[in-house]
């Protein structure tokens, strides 16, 4: 019991770490969704050049370790004369990596919508983006939601890597607390529980939303 009391006395540090993890996840999520939509559209348009770019992006970022991508932004940005914070570098690394996965999720969703939908929309005079926005994407959302939730949960977990570039996230604080107290087991269990406070509501919300969408069609 004594260990748990020690651990709980660090709750301020835990919470500040949790706050940073949430912040990073939120920004990386928004950015990776944007990247994902763009990459997916690149992969399904008729332009061979954009197809190739989209495919190369996905292959590159899915098939190299996240930690290398994060290090690239962290150590590479000063070399390129950029002065951006570790937090920003980490968020960027996490977003470009997750964006590749999001792109594949969106692409699969878009391609699951029958071809006739795009033809009907375009033949009524809508341009490509209007057809995507009003007709294709709203239908793709239902297909996309479950795998998208998986990617979001993965991203929250992957954000722990940012502790290696001195972002003071939940993982980073957990290491500190552990070396302060020489307690390992309870310190990390507690951190895991805190990660669950983000990921469980996330997937529960997605499940509810999914059920509502299914009902409306």
């Amino acid at each position: 019991m004594g260990n748990w009391n020690d651990v709980l006395s660090y709750s301020g540090k835990y919470l500040s770490g949790l706050g940073i993890t949430l912040e990073v996840s939120l920004y990386a999520l928004l950015l990776s969704l944007a990247i994902g939509v763009v990459i997916a559209i690149f992969r399904v348009t008729s332009s061979k050049l954009l197809n190739a770019f989209g495919a190369a992006y996905v292959e590159f970022f899915q098939n190299t370790p996240l930690i290398i991508q994060v290090f690239f932004f962290y150590y590479g940005s000063p070399a390129m004369g950029l002065n951006i914070s570790g937090l920003a570098c980490g968020t960027l690394g996490l977003a470009v990596y997750t964006g590749a996965y999001m792109g594949e999720v969106f692409r699969a969703g878009i391609q699951a919508v029958p071809k006739g939908q795009m033809e009907a929309a375009r033949s009524s005079g809508m341009n490509y983006l209007q057809a995507m926005g009003y007709v294709i994407l709203p239908q793709a959302v239902k297909i996309i939601l479950p795998p998208l939730t998986n990617q979001m949960v993965n991203m929250v977990k992957n954000s722990a890597i940012l502790s290696t570039i001195a972002v003071t996230d939940l993982m980073y604080q957990t290491y500190l607390i552990s070396s302060d107290t020489f307690i390992v087991f309870e310190v990390f269990i507690f951190a895991a529980l805190l990660y669950l406070t983000i990921t469980v509501p996330l997937s529960t919300f997605a499940n509810l939303l999914e059920r509502r969408l299914q009902r409306s069609s």
């Binding site: 006739g116 033809e119 033949s123 009524s124 005079g125 341009n127 209007q130 239908q139």
Partner: protein
């Protein structure tokens, strides 16, 4: 006035030559029925008219727009051409009313209230005003196709294209769709219709075009086709579809 003019149009899908030296002129107000065996290029011919398929060679002019010119603003022309598909292609996530008003509001930039008034008018015209708030999945095939026609008409197009509009329907629903199309034809709409419904052709078509192997093999009035088609291939094809072939095709 000529609305649609094919001038020595050719089209390939890769190595497959699907339209061969097509010459065709369609006047304003004309109703043209296209018949021919499966794979003869009927859909492709139709889809070239609004550039769902691009032609490979020749000249194609529709409502003054040059379709062989890549600089042509195709979205502008498409507003003037309604298209009805074999499988309806209604938007399943939108109500009937929203299906019909989407393009008028987003493309023609018409105010929502006015677009809804127009939509209601055309829903009455196709005989299902009570379905405005329904979703496509709640309608029968015949009703869905009538909504699709109303959706096309709501853009106030100059031309309506129909690609086998009744061939995915249960037999008892075919007439409700054909009746709407006949009424439209009699009001003077310019229509190009791929169909094997010879009753429809006989009643409202000004011209029937028989295609085979990417070519227009024969064209004439419906009467001509019923009484004495010249081409052997046309005779054979017509005898098939006129002697109950229709039922076995489905």
């Amino acid at each position: 006035m000529t609305l649609i003019r094919f001038d020595k149009v050719n089209k390939w899908f890769g190595k497959l030559h699907v339209l061969r030296d097509i010459h065709l002129q369609i006047r304003e107000g004309e109703v043209v029925v296209v018949i021919g065996p499966s794979g003869s290029g009927k859909s492709t011919l139709l889809r070239c008219i609004n550039r769902l398929e691009a032609i490979s060679e020749g000249q194609l002019t529709v409502d003054g727009f040059r379709l062989d010119d890549p600089k042509t603003n195709i979205n502008l022309l498409r507003q003037e051409i309604g298209m009805v598909f074999q499988h309806f292609n209604l938007y399943p996530h939108k109500t009937v009313l929203e299906n019909i008003t989407l393009a008028p509001i987003k493309v023609r930039k018409i105010a929502k209230e006015e677009a809804e008034k127009t939509a209601t008018f055309f829903l009455e015209k196709v005989g299902i005003p009570e379905k405005a708030q329904a979703y496509p999945s709640q309608l029968s095939g015949g009703q869905q196709q009538r909504v699709a026609i109303a959706r096309g008409l709501a853009m106030k197009p100059k031309i309506m294209l129909f690609d086998e509009p009744t061939s995915a329907l249960d037999p008892e629903m075919i007439n409700e769709v054909l009746d709407v199309m006949k009424a439209l034809a009699k009001e003077g709409m310019t229509m190009v219709v791929v169909t094997h419904e010879m009753g429809f052709a006989r009643e409202v078509a000004d011209r029937v075009i028989f295609m085979d192997n990417g070519m227009i093999v024969e064209e004439g009035t419906p009467e001509h086709f019923f009484t004495n088609p010249r081409e052997e291939r046309a005779k054979l094809f017509l005898s098939k579809i006129l002697t109950g072939g229709r039922a076995s095709k489905r």
